[in-house]
């Protein structure tokens, strides 16, 4: 049960992070260099999951996933059952929930590159896409790693959204945070301690490694 939950949590975090990276890299690059009027709108939307309670997100996701909505109905048509209570439903919920945690560090990284980097490439004849692949992306690698780690660990800690749309199915949607909740509510404190302690330690370890690596990189570049 615990192993199931751990495996599921890692799979969820990994899948979410990977998909988010693919979507967020171009988005962050665009946000960093655009002067379009739409920019504050997009930035606000991206930042929403930071300020809204997860219950709001969960609520809207439930409505969308329900066959009463067009999207939900289409999914049921294709797959026979609703998107809710499934691994992919959680992935979508997690992507929405962790979106700002991946976009914002990436955006800061691209902004940190400065406008001139892209300009220098453009003036040599490189189209924005070519500039992105050949120049901006390789230069953004440290930021990419930081964004991945943040997105990953944030998803591991996800609770509110999963509670609402997960269905608590062992092996499919019962992630560590939900398992922990179950144990606490059933007054199984011994197991709860193990799970909570494990989560804290592993998160601490991952974050420590990330920040130490950041620090060492800074020293290397500065020196």
């Amino acid at each position: 049960m615990i192993l199931d939950a751990i495996g599921l949590t890692l799979r969820l975090a990994g899948t979410t992070t990977l998909l988010l990276l693919i979507i967020c890299m171009p988005l962050a690059a665009w946000l960093a260099s655009t002067r379009s009027r739409a920019k504050p709108w997009v930035e606000s939307l991206v930042a929403l999951p930071l300020v809204l309670p997860p219950t709001v997100l969960g609520f809207y996701l439930l409505l969308i996933m329900s066959p009463n909505s067009q999207i939900g109905a289409a999914w049921v048509e294709l797959f026979g059952q609703s998107l809710a209570f499934s691994f992919w439903g959680l992935v979508i919920g997690s992507m929405a929930y962790s979106l700002p945690f991946v976009v914002q560090p990436l955006q800061r990284t691209f902004e940190g590159q400065g406008a001139f980097i892209a300009e220098a490439a453009h003036t040599l004849g490189a189209h924005p896409w070519q500039t992105f692949w050949a120049i901006r992306l390789p230069l953004a690698l440290p930021g990419l790693i930081a964004a991945s780690v943040l997105g990953f660990t944030h998803t591991v800690g996800e609770f509110g959204v999963v509670l609402m749309i997960g269905g608590n199915i062992p092996g499919q949607t019962q992630v560590l945070s939900i398992l922990l909740f179950d144990q606490v509510e059933s007054l199984n404190y011994a197991l709860a301690h193990q799970l909570a302690g494990g989560l804290v330690l592993s998160s601490l370890l991952v974050l420590f490694c990330l920040y130490r690596w950041n620090h060492q990189s800074a020293i290397r570049i500065g020196g």
Partner: protein, 346 residues
Amino acid sequence: MKFSIQGAWHQHQLDFQGSFAPGERVALLGVSGAGKTTLLRLLAGLDRLPQAQAQIEIAGQALGRAWQSPASLMHQQPVMFAHHRVEQTVLFGARFRPAAHRLPLQEWAQALDLTDLWQQPCAQLSGGQQQRVALLRTLMSQPAWLLLDESFAALDDLRRVRACEVVADYCRRTGAGLVLASHNDSPQRILCDSAYTVDRLSGSYQPKLFDRLNRVNTEGGMTTLLGRAERLAQGFLAVLVDQQPLYLAVPERWQPGPARISLDASEISIALGDQHQTSMVNRLRVTIDSLLPIEGERVAVGLRLDQQSFVATISLWSWQRLQLVLGQTVFAEFKVAAVQWHGQAH
């Protein structure tokens, strides 16, 4: 290149109009903050104004986005891609525009002193090295117009002349034109023929650069003369300027043919008659053209050869002692060291 830019830009009014022939080499003149960089960026397509306010045409086509334009801008601060090595970044320049000409990359790399640095990471280069790398990278992208913004600022005199020669070679091979802004006007004296002066975000064109640069003014300064490099004599190079020989230290590279040299006004003294002083190797017969008092009890004297003029600054006391008058024929004397070699970029 034709442009007509009249509009508001960041709370300022722009008024730039001009037309440069293909292959023309224009010096962009103007004090700091006058708007040279603004103009260069607009011509490069990096900054854009609405069509109604800016009509820019390059090589017969209306200017679109920066990457569609055959003009390349070299930024004031050289932009290095930290994940590249020198070779990588120079070749990167060659990837995007069609390679219409074969360029002597190795020869130019040598001329720019970059062969030792070929595998060096760009992030570890000094300012001057970065500038030379950025220049080579820009040339490799084969633009039809080079827009150079202070591209030689970090180079010492010798490297500067060499870099200018490389640029001249590029323009010769490809027929590309050049717009060059430089606070030190040496590169412009070496390379350019015409001038576009920018003053408070509006500009005007002068077809003869040296009419503008060589004017007698209160700073004295430097005048550039066009001559022909002829031969070696007594360990110096003899350059004929308006039929008179001028001697200067032999430059690293020269060949018989048109050349430019510049004279520093403060190093020239005026003498009467035929007395020879052996330390002054150069002696030109000139006519006094103009006189302008300048600060420090000195005067700036315009001296005319046959077609060309140059400036000498002497003390007021000397002028009075020699009893000089306008129109008088005298001799300008100066050491070999007072002559600066400004290349053979044509």
